[in-house]
Subunit: 461 residues, 3 copies
Amino acid sequence: MNKIPSNIMALASNTSNKRETVCIFGTGDFGRALGHKLIQCGYPVVFGSRSTQTSSLIPKDAEVLSHAEAAQKAAIIIIAIQRQHYNFLAPLAENLHGKVLVDISNNLKINQYPESNAEYLAQIVPGAKIVKAFNTVSAWALQSGTLDASRQVFVCGNDMEAKQMVMDIVRALGLTPLDQGSLLAAQEIENYPLKLFPMWKFPILLSLGLTTFFFFYCLIRDVIYPYIYENKDFSFFIAISIPNRICPILALILLALVYLPGVLAAIIQLYRGTKYRRFPDWLDKWMLCRKQLGLVALAFASLHVVYTLVIPIRSFVRWRIISYTVSQALNNKTEPLDTTNAWLSDSYLALGILGFFFFVLLGITSLPSVSNNVNWREFRFVQSKLGYLTLVLCTAHTLVYGGKWFLSPSSYRWYLPNAYMLSLIVPCIVLVVKFVLIFPCLDKPLMQIRQGWERNPQYSS
Amino acid sequence: MNKIPSNIMALASNTSNKRETVCIFGTGDFGRALGHKLIQCGYPVVFGSRSTQTSSLIPKDAEVLSHAEAAQKAAIIIIAIQRQHYNFLAPLAENLHGKVLVDISNNLKINQYPESNAEYLAQIVPGAKIVKAFNTVSAWALQSGTLDASRQVFVCGNDMEAKQMVMDIVRALGLTPLDQGSLLAAQEIENYPLKLFPMWKFPILLSLGLTTFFFFYCLIRDVIYPYIYENKDFSFFIAISIPNRICPILALILLALVYLPGVLAAIIQLYRGTKYRRFPDWLDKWMLCRKQLGLVALAFASLHVVYTLVIPIRSFVRWRIISYTVSQALNNKTEPLDTTNAWLSDSYLALGILGFFFFVLLGITSLPSVSNNVNWREFRFVQSKLGYLTLVLCTAHTLVYGGKWFLSPSSYRWYLPNAYMLSLIVPCIVLVVKFVLIFPCLDKPLMQIRQGWERNPQYSS
Amino acid sequence: MNKIPSNIMALASNTSNKRETVCIFGTGDFGRALGHKLIQCGYPVVFGSRSTQTSSLIPKDAEVLSHAEAAQKAAIIIIAIQRQHYNFLAPLAENLHGKVLVDISNNLKINQYPESNAEYLAQIVPGAKIVKAFNTVSAWALQSGTLDASRQVFVCGNDMEAKQMVMDIVRALGLTPLDQGSLLAAQEIENYPLKLFPMWKFPILLSLGLTTFFFFYCLIRDVIYPYIYENKDFSFFIAISIPNRICPILALILLALVYLPGVLAAIIQLYRGTKYRRFPDWLDKWMLCRKQLGLVALAFASLHVVYTLVIPIRSFVRWRIISYTVSQALNNKTEPLDTTNAWLSDSYLALGILGFFFFVLLGITSLPSVSNNVNWREFRFVQSKLGYLTLVLCTAHTLVYGGKWFLSPSSYRWYLPNAYMLSLIVPCIVLVVKFVLIFPCLDKPLMQIRQGWERNPQYSS
């Protein structure tokens, strides 16, 4: 956050004046919204329009002139026109010479045109100083003042002074300008507002798929099986018991999948004997969404914690404990304390609590503002040391939880093992391979490779 | 965070030297604190003072000269004097010509003077380059080195080079300069340190009011009523039971109040047929504090979760369950499992857990560092889609929780309905109206209006 | 976060071209990694190397020339060579005149050399414009594209234009340049990547020490004592019961230690009658790590909360309640509700919940992105008002929890008091001293001292 916090600004405008005139070409929605806002913030605004009669839509205090006349009145011209109509600017090139043209346009698709709109504009009006800005702000938000979302406005351009002038306007509107460098950045800036969580797609689809699979798996084992063989109606397990089985399973599998690509990369590098060849594409993409995978895993782990803590309040659990107590009282017997059982129960809970604790720590350090305050050495310490510790603790939690049932035949229903057994496969593989990779005979060459050493330098070029 | 993390810097100063001399006018508290710090960071410091004899208060290594002499020694002069005494600079105008004057003053009230102190200084010494800076840092923090709070120093000024020079000093002191643009921003910068959570006032006052009302409401129903009619002392309900009734009620009402203004705005726009007229003032203000309302609601929801999870540990609850079990054992009966009850209990818990989960997600995305990493499209997706999902889940949670009691006469005491019934009014209204607004016959014109279409363009100007 | 979110960039490069040639001196690991990345982002790259035959290691599309030839081809030269070999640049001084030299070197120890590597480079090649950059990025991360950690690149240098050119390259690589001012900042920038949580060392070591002490203390009282005198095996207490005793104790002590230095500082200032003398070194260091102490305390408090909520699920606790219920049923008696007990139990839970709630609030406001959005007045309000409120609530929670046992002789085993009694010493001292300091006769002079007043000004200079 590089700005005086937001909402305050939105109310406190109107106070300052003495601003320089700004010209806006185009009287469409965004042009008008921007004009309104600029006038509110004390800027004299001139609209450039083909016909000067559509004035009823335009803010009262703004002048409406022809394009050529309007351009003369201001040093900064905001082009609030769609890219398809940029051609009409070509004949105006003389009027626009030396002016700062602000390209605020967006496209409908990512990489819709070979060059960015701003670069296209620079080709059409070569004498002007093009600055890309404002495209990440919605007209509706600008209009209603409800800029709760990001107030960041990416700005790029080749002329430093022009960029500064535009950034001053951005600041005056209560927004935060972020210099993104030269006009070459325009393509990226134009693609930015079109994205919808691109890095989250794979983790979320994967977890949806796994959730569906494990839901039906547990439904068969825990609801349908007892209904058929014991004629018991446990359909209400769908609300809490089954989700509380799926959540820890997904948390564990996804957490293991965060560390699997790193292990695979190490194997590939050891095999190739160099770090200077690119990984296969799927591995590259997998590595880039590890953070998102981890956060989805954390979400499932958190749900698991709440579902577990809620257990003693559930009316079914209360009923079960009360019936058990009553039956003991009626049978006139008191069971002695089973210390082994107490050990098992307490230690799987303790392992789970510690695992969750470190998992949350990992989550907090992945907050942008925290990870920005951490250097590379610290980040690696947290993400790899603490990360593996979390994985070990969570795997141990699951192992101790299910320990007693592993070999019991009653835990197989229709030959289906308990779901948590399936969840142990990936984490155990990751931990075993990682354990092998720690051995000096493998760790040393790997370190050398990562420091730039190559086994067969002659082949690598 | 645009700086090498903080505390490290504070210890590691003294290392560098070769700095340019800085002159400070005024030997008051802030002047001296700044002088100390500048000397620590290797800057030669000259104080300009009316009398050069108050030297005992001044850092040892600093020179104290008359204003005119001191001004000659440095290119940058920090004006550590109150605005009322700026007049004395007028006769020095010649000595100050071309110098960078840093205005660090603050006022006692918001918008105390028509123009900012920095602009006033610029009028008095027109030949100097005025830069506003340092006013957001406390002298005490500067002195003690305990800058745990924000290290951000807002800087503004019309001369780019002067601003750069001041920003370099700011950086050298271990602080983070933030360019706020031209001197017009000075007013806002001077108001900034005077504010005390202005956006939080309404949500906090509202929730305090509602809390008080519901506290006495529940006190009457749950403590006074049973005391009078059944002579039972449930006064200890004040500690947990009643707070755990108030918290979910407030969370639900406040969450609904986050979405109510959006719904009202839609109705107003549909009625007016344009988006280009301002909303009434109260609606504008309400919309600007929606984020804060939501976060207060989240705080209440979190308290509700902890209060609920703590239930089985409460000695009262343990006593109640044990007595019930003992009475069952003594009566020699075991109740069978009531599946409907198990369904109801599990599903209201599950709805609550999911509602809370999405609520926390909303809270995390409203962290500044997260919302800055999200574009407008993603932000709208999260805040409106996930937001309404949360509201639906939480309302359903409350409905299922109380479902069985709605029509039972025993739930009315002194004709007062259960408190949670009152809490359902606002969310149900919001959800019903929102549901109506989704219908195409209303949604389509609304979309058009928000894209700039106007029903009666001739009237709008 | 000042950049278009990260990972997207890493995939979307290659699109732009027309970049200016960059020259890299040195074909070591970092040089090659940087070369690879620059080529990927569309920069023509020329390597300067002693022998032009090691070309097999070098990216295919890069040219390899002698140093002098390579330098001629580009305006920017990245010096990917270790400081010890900088001497070889002296004879090239003429070729490097007016060029931008980017120093990317790191050292092995903090403050290894009297001057920074960048300043040393400036001495060797006085005609060049030296810019420090890229040293905070790891070659491995650059190579693999997995820059999940901080993407911040600290940049400093005396020439504004040179700095801008380097910052544009940084941006083009998908990283975030942060201007740190003049070349004097280079020392700090070079030390930065060598640090490993320097501020966390003391809090973590302290809490490890205290944890060990209290672990054995509780082990003796709760496991060994009953084993010897009652021959009961409570060894499973190690998993949950003992941690759940240690965590709240440490949370309370560490929280009190956050506020102790402030209280000590006030006493010292009152005694000395001035704020302008430095505190003893240990107090300075203690004050600088208060935030970290508080966060460690919060971690222990969170663990305590989860350990406590898990209680009713523990098999030992279930066994104990069931046996108790059964024994009551067998003895045919039902105990009436003990209202005092219900009050005590509910109120210590309520105090704990509220204390934890405010503690979490404090933790959230200490997130960098939140504390940056808060001015000094708001920060002091939160950290001191809410902080003391938290301390009071947590101390009261502990007092009410143990209230009934304080004077009971059965709570002393081997003359050892219950561990929580020890934990009350520091917080009670802090609260009592703070309470005394609030009295006007002490508060007024303290305020005056903190506003710059001195009791004996003649002695202070």
